[in-house]
Symmetry: C2
Subunit: 395 residues, 2 copies
Amino acid sequence: MISEQYRNMLQAKSVIRMLSEKATKRGSEIGYENVFDFSLGNPSVPAPADFTRVMKDLLEKEDPVKLHGYSPTLGIPSVKEKIAASLKRRFGLSYGPEHIFPTAGAAGAIAHALRLVTKPGDEVLTFAPFFPEYHPYVDLTGAKLRILPPDRENFQICFDELEKALTPEVAAVLINTPNNPSGALYSAETLKCLARILEDKSREFGHRIYLISDEPYREIVYGGVEAPYVAAFYDATLTCYSFSKSLSLPGERIGYLAVSPRCPEAEVLIQMCGQVSRGIGHNCPSSIIQLAVAEVVDRTADLKVYEKNMNLLYDCLLELGFEVVKPGGTFYIFPKALEEDANVFCTKALDHDLVLVPGDSFGCPGYFRMAYCIETEKVERSLEALRKFVRGNYR
Amino acid sequence: MISEQYRNMLQAKSVIRMLSEKATKRGSEIGYENVFDFSLGNPSVPAPADFTRVMKDLLEKEDPVKLHGYSPTLGIPSVKEKIAASLKRRFGLSYGPEHIFPTAGAAGAIAHALRLVTKPGDEVLTFAPFFPEYHPYVDLTGAKLRILPPDRENFQICFDELEKALTPEVAAVLINTPNNPSGALYSAETLKCLARILEDKSREFGHRIYLISDEPYREIVYGGVEAPYVAAFYDATLTCYSFSKSLSLPGERIGYLAVSPRCPEAEVLIQMCGQVSRGIGHNCPSSIIQLAVAEVVDRTADLKVYEKNMNLLYDCLLELGFEVVKPGGTFYIFPKALEEDANVFCTKALDHDLVLVPGDSFGCPGYFRMAYCIETEKVERSLEALRKFVRGNYR
């Protein structure tokens, strides 16, 4: 019989997708260039030219039987070596290839990480606002996702809430910094405090609480700083990375799970990834994509545009009286709506061809998300629409 | 805490992998060209030049933001369209894009198919000899794989055993034709009989029994015939296909799940694939690989070598007195060992640098598998070793 579980999931329509469809429809009426579509988090800058060059070189020079052959269960050794060397150089932890498992993006990494350190019935904690896909990611493993209330002041972590929520049922804490949707970057202070609490509670409960760190936006950080590296603060960290945003390759499904070399049994955890893969039909990302990404592991696409867009929007939002935390990275901003129900607010915005996403599905009602991974020229044009919308409705 | 389930799986060493490692070790001593390694089922012929050309064209001509952008949840429409058109043209069923879901190879297709039509506790039947990965594929969903005894005469299906095993707990039957490891191709007669039984039992139990058809070897069929198309015989068929073998692209992880247009609620099942993907971190195969494969969907690598190798081996095995079913396809042959314990037989063969895989892990003790996806020249040289081994030990 057809699975009721998956059939029922079809009923729950994604708000983001519905809004994006509305934007497309409106675009067909007035031209998509006139719809200020802030709904989708798709990179708007091209992959670096070096990636394309490496792909073409591989196709021209390599023996196709080897190039397109099976990747070993745990990933191509030379690829793992290059990823590990890059992490070691950048963040100072002694990663080796034995700590790296290539995955189909961060989603694939999280799918593996969750299965490594949770079992059905366990609790996984995360903090609002959070990426809504965490629900299916966690819930479909049989574990339970529990959302802790947001720190509305800075979108860091409410540690009081965390201490209350940490019970022996909690197997892992799932964080995302820089954060989708808030754009907040967890400070070193935040990560130190988080680590201390997790260490204390792990000791108290007599079992290790794992930290699953979802870091697809690690390279998109503003103000010339580098994101504090989560695994440097807490030993039992499983880092879930994607090249989707840093190299503008979301469709190629490439990333990795890195288990901190300081994590007890790190190598066993990576070996177990090969077993998890058998059950979920994964069997490593595309060989050619693995090989190509490894050659440009320290490059990024030209990411400057996102900071430029952020500053334009942030200044305009402040000018219009919004309460808004300045993003430290990503390509999202998450202001408080100008009325209690952000759904109503976003519906009114649609009349001005502004496509904004209400914060409810991110666990943060009353706020809205803008994904500003679009052309700067369009962001600039959108400011006038934003001003008209606000002045027309809220003055 | 670390998952005990996956940790324990690390203990079970794969016989095929251990043998392959022995072959590599022996190769470092005497030169790999002198080890007759029949252990691994990796294509030995290159991908068609057209595939490489299409890949390079895409990299040169397409906008990288679009080319490497997110694939829609249910796959790239133009890709689904081309796969559907090919199936329709070749097999006469009215497939449309709404019946196709691109996956990471056949493993990814099976991972989705199982979750669509089974729930934890359900039974999935398969027939020995069978691909050993079916165990983790099925068991890790929470369903239970049940192996039915082989038809040793032709490696078709023992229908008596099937009728006995079909209880209301059975949600799906999983078949693989042409078959790994036996090389047997299910005849139209076999598929008709299978369909009739499944229809009768579905009616009797009041719920549909699904047929999951694993077809990565569909294009490797001998004697100039085409493999009878499973979905043409039974409506509730979920076809799991991979381009790994037909296009020699095993590392690129590309295939599809096709739900028969005659299957009730076929379109709902495909839509549900998008939900299954969220839980297993899949999110579609690589965009560029999807696009490239769609352009060469009706091509194959030069597969003739496999039939040539098969005939050489089959004739020699007959000459040496082996009991062996002539393969109808794949690149495997599955003779009966010359002593009761095929493990002992295969260990003795190693002394002649012949790497053969005992049938036990395929659910068929007393037999052994030879994967002859190697150069014909090497197959020819192996025949002398085979003769010496047999004459030295069993005459």
